[in-house]
Homo-oligomer: 325 residues x 2
């Protein structure tokens, strides 16, 4: 994935849709009369990426990127750093495209995520995150084995792939007035911007991140990418330290605002989605729902991306029970 | 709902689909490559009635029944006995059709279910299940207020409504080879039989009930409706004591067998559906998934009905955590 790239556009999202057709799920779009009533909106549509292959939208970007490898790149394989949804997405997309995959994960990554990645057939290389530098390990593997790195969010092919979720949403329900999207590194949000400007030009777009990790909002305010320390939040998919050099300019250009929510609000949203919509959504996936009450939605047609559902079941069960052990 | 009825057929299911169009959700049909691989089937399709309005398939039968009321019946209102999914379904369907509703519930019904039914605008009449006879209360209300009783499963209009779930499934994925359906009073299963014989004549149909409440299996074996004591099982939607006089003949004619599963197998299925498919499914809704390992499915195209998702979140969370308090 080295080389000279151009900033992705809605045409790249359309091309990604063709590549993903028949390989990614077209995930359901669901409504809840209760949540619509609470929001004051005309209707709220939920795009259920927790029901995507590998359990999150990340599959879209991973598949879109690997499917553009040259034959030589395919033979040598794909490399990723991740202890989260990107790892599983790369593992599954690589298996489907018959490309060898190595995922570099810290020693202390949750067993459930390591197992899921191994289950998709990827090789997992562990490292000591306090003693070793993962970039060095990655660079060595790339050199020794000629493998190609696919980053979790900051690449045009990844952004274009993530944009397909939003493209499907606008097409299924018609152009929306407001779109609300979780933000970690900004891949899903940047892709949502590209798809929305083409399919619903008047739609306002909001990103949502954890209050403890508001680097995105700070970046919008200051007009440059702000770096923060790894934030402490239950939204583990949004524990990113900064937006990307590809994602930020798109977000800066297209997004109305980035909102923040607390972990308590995320827990309430998890329970709402479980109780009302019967969906198991991971904390990061609930960011959009948790922020709805901050927006004036009266009479609006609203879309919310539920980005993923990968969470340890015992941990999730404890959130429902109200036991935060 | 008194009067002379004829046994329902697939034509009644088709008519119910017309009545439900635009009112019930056409629920998603999802697949899981992991669950398909585990089953040995060519593919397993899951029909997600937990995502139906009111949280279960019961909305289909309730709406189909009430929408056939005469003007006089509509004015007087609908009456139901239920502490479960039928209560919520009647509440919501009655509200949508602007028909007054009374639901008779025991004093000790879970607060969450009473609240949900009240939330849909139904009047809830409580009774002491140890001192009072609910049929007597119902008969008095029917007499005094001219209300029409809609039973939870044993009525042709209810059966035909429930059949629409299976009709949608066959139509979306093409005719199936094997269909697996939860059984309480047999409304969902009888409806599934009618739809399947019309749309997938060669499809084998299996019912699944809790081991502790195997009245359906006993009834099939003996060729008559067997009554049992209220069974003790976490599958509260299948704590019925007997099949119905309308549901049994259809089931007897069309079903290959009725299987049983233990509560432990249901808990495992709940965790599988949560972890793999990100769906919150109530214990009764998991009956079909829990029975899959008993069937020889090699190379078959299989459908499983996930019937509902209404469960107290704290209780559900404890099942995930493994804490059976």
């Amino acid at each position: 994935m080295t080389g000279d790239w151009e900033a992705p556009t809605h045409r790249d999202v359309a091309a990604a849709r063709d590549r993903l057709a028949g390989h990614a799920h077209q995930t359901p779009v669901l409504t809840s009369s209760r949540l619509t009533a609470q929001s004051g909106a005309e209707v709220v549509h939920f795009k259920c990426e927790a029901l995507q292959r590998s359990g999150s939208f990340k599959f879209r970007g991973a598949y879109n990127a690997i499917s553009q490898f040259t034959d030589e790149q395919r033979r040598a394989g794909v490399l990723a750093y991740s202890s989260g949804n990107h790892a599983q997405a790369i593992g599954l997309a690589a298996r489907m495209l018959e490309v060898p995959a190595v995922v570099i994960m810290p020693d202390d990554a949750p067993a459930v995520k390591v197992d899921a990645t191994l289950g998709y057939g990827a090789e997992v290389v562990r490292y000591d995150r306090y003693a070793e530098d993962r970039e060095e390990i990655g660079a060595r593997l790339a050199l020794e084995r000629g493998m190609t790195l696919v980053p979790p969010y900051d690449h045009p092919h990844v952004i274009a792939g993530q944009g397909t979720a939003t493209a499907e949403l606008h097409e299924v329900v018609g152009p929306l007035d407001v779109l609300v999207v979780p933000v970690g590194g900004g891949g899903l949000l940047a892709g949502a911007c590209l798809a929305t400007r083409a399919l619903a030009p008047q739609c306002e777009i909001y990103g949502v991140e954890p209050e403890a990790g508001d680097d995105g909002r700070q970046s919008l305010r200051r007009g440059r990418i702000v770096h923060i320390d790894t934030p402490t939040t239950i939204a583990d998919g949004a524990q990113t330290q900064h937006l990307g050099t590809w994602t930020f300019p798109i977000i800066q250009r297209e997004v109305t605002d980035i909102l923040t929510v607390t972990d308590e609000q995320l827990v309430a949203a998890i329970r709402t989605l479980a109780g009302t919509m019967k969906l198991l959504v991971e904390p990061t996936g609930c960011l959009g729902v948790a922020a709805l009450s901050q927006l004036s939605l009266t009479g609006k047609r609203v879309g919310v991306l539920l980005s993923g559902g990968n969470v340890d079941l015992v941990r999730y069960g404890r959130l429902l029970v109200g036991d935060a052990r």
